[in-house]
């Protein structure tokens, strides 16, 4: 079955057969693919963990594409994530990876013809290029065709996140080919003028686009190799200088305010660990993971763990912590669970929704239910049905109304939740799940459940 993520590229396409992903190389791209392999660039990039490794396989092609050059079986990426789900540092690392690949490609007489952020994925904690067909022969004097795409996919969102608002990364969800530069220019503060290099790549670039739109210009512009390398080096310097320090007043304090005693916290960790031991390794999603304290328990048990949180600071913190500790089994991502990533692009199929990327073997939903049920007015039946769609096993914490955090949520609003009780919770969840175990968390009023989908 041909996958809809790659239909735009005439060089080849992705297809799946027997749950294995393959990439067909079309005859039109044959010479370029052979150059990638024979030039030594493929080996160099794979050794440096910058490009996904593949093996060539002897497999009949897809029925509707009988003509082919090669069929490749790339190494699998456990979870496909998208730029609008990445924190600042993930997008920055993806940008630097793209520029590093372009520099190496030029050394081997090739160049990147795409610099889409969607071509980068995180594997074992590091970003790497997954589109093996992104290279073409470099011809001296030719410009870098992917320059505009790099500015839209990376430079625009990164600069908006740093200089305007971290939440503007979400513009990538609306603009599938990167944030338009005229929009970026209008959103960036005037102080961008103090950063001339960035100003040129965004503001002057946008002005140039507007000026030349629909105008007749010379078809050929000579771009020397030295100039091109200088420009890539300049982009690297700009991206390296972009730093997001987080807004400590707005985000950070919340995470220090827990109502757990150290005894309760240790008891909860032990219980979650025991429940995880009973499930066995697989794909685990931690919903509302904060900075990944409990997700790490899953990762330590060899679960491929994806952490979701709505807070950019928490995701950033989790990512940096995982990198620092070398915890490669954790992928922190930004997600509003009440409005999760939809399918976007042509036919709503180019980038898949969260649900389509599941189900996970295990979902952790710890200290989450009250936020969904009380802050977001979601009935238990809806929460249970949604969780049933995305997992086989569920480790979920029930937080009663008597808990101080719930009291706090109810302090500023009318209590319209008569069914928010432990009995009501169990009754609704039993419609989708079997409760396999439950245990109270010591020194708290909370209860932890292990459930299995019926």
């Amino acid at each position: 079955m041909k996958l809809p993520a790659s239909f735009r590229d005439p060089s080849g396409f992705l297809f799946s057969r027997n749950h294995q992903l393959y990439r067909q190389v079309n005859p039109v791209y044959g010479d370029q693919y052979d150059l990638l392999m024979s030039s030594g660039l493929y080996n160099r990039l794979v050794e440096s963990k910058l490009l996904v490794p593949h093996r060539e396989v002897d497999l009949p092609p897809e029925d509707d594409h009988p003509e082919f050059h090669r069929v490749l079986a790339p190494e699998q990426i456990p979870f496909i994530s998208y730029p609008y789900e990445w924190c600042f540092s993930q997008l920055k690392e993806a940008a630097l990876t793209t520029l590093e690949i372009q520099t190496r490609a030029l050394e081997f007489g090739m160049t990147l013809k795409d610099s889409s952020a969607y071509n980068i994925q995180f594997k074992e904690g590091s970003p790497l290029l997954i589109d093996t067909l992104s290279f073409e022969e470099y011809i001296e004097g030719e410009p870098w065709v992917a320059y505009r795409q790099f500015c839209q996919h990376f430079l625009a969102p990164l600069s908006l996140m740093v200089y305007r608002d971290i939440r503007l990364s979400q513009l990538l969800r609306i603009h599938i080919d990167g944030i338009p530069l005229d929009l970026t220019k209008s959103l960036l503060p005037l102080t961008t003028l103090l950063r001339p290099s960035l100003w040129v790549h965004i503001n002057l670039h946008a002005k140039s686009q507007k000026y030349f739109a629909g105008k007749q210009v010379p078809t050929k512009r000579h771009v020397s190799r030295t100039g091109l390398l200088g420009m890539v080096e300049n982009l690297q310097a700009i991206v390296n200088r972009l730093k997001w320090k987080g807004d400590s007043t707005e985000w950070a304090d919340y995470y220090d305010e827990t109502n757990y005693s150290s005894v309760a916290l240790e008891a909860k960790k032990r219980l979650v660990g025991e429940f995880l031991d009973g499930i066995g390794p697989g794909m685990a999603w931690d919903l509302g993971a904060n900075t990944g304290l409990f997700a790490r328990l899953a990762a330590e048990r060899n679960h491929q763990t994806v952490c979701f949180d709505i807070d950019p600071w928490a995701v950033e913190n989790n990512y940096l912590k995982s990198v620092k500790r070398g915890q490669t089994g954790i992928l922190p991502l930004l997600l509003d669970l009440t409005n999760p990533s939809p399918g976007i692009g042509w036919g709503n199929q180019e980038r898949t929704s969260l649900i389509e990327r599941g189900p996970a073997d295990t979902v952790l939903a710890l200290a989450l239910i009250h936020h969904l049920a009380i802050s977001n007015n979601l009935p238990f039946a809806h929460i249970s049905a949604f969780l049933g769609q995305i997992c086989q096993h569920l480790i979920i914490e029930f937080v009663p109304k008597t808990d101080s955090q719930v009291k706090r949520l109810l302090s500023t609003r009318e209590d319209i939740f008569p069914d928010y009780t432990q009995q009501g919770f169990e009754r609704e969840f039993r419609k989708t799940f079997t409760i396999e175990a439950s245990a109270p968390i010591a020194e708290s009023e909370r209860v932890l459940y292990l459930m299995k989908k019926e």
């Binding site: 320059y147 512009r221 091109l228 200088g230």
Partner: protein, 76 residues
């Protein structure tokens, strides 16, 4: 450094003028032509800057070499 910055700014302005008023008209391109033009301008700037850097390094090396050989003769 001030002189270098001023020179860069001047070059930038000249290059901008070059971009905004292209000398020859050849063909119609897509709306991405603005990106191509800015890239051509930037690459030209960086090529010049790289060349200056290389020559400047050579000049510095030459001066250093002259200086060190001079000091050797003074202090046998």
């Amino acid at each position: 450094m001030k002189a270098w910055k001023a020179a860069t700014k001047l070059l930038l302005l000249l290059a901008l003028a070059f971009v905004l008023w292209p000398p020859t008209v050849y063909a119609y391109l897509d709306p991405g032509s603005g990106s191509l033009m800015i890239q051509a301008m930037l690459a030209a700037l960086f090529a010049v800057s790289m060349a200056i850097k290389v020559y400047w390094r050579k000049i510095k090396l030459l001066i250093a070499a002259l200086f060190s050989s001079g000091s050797e003769t003074k202090d046998p």
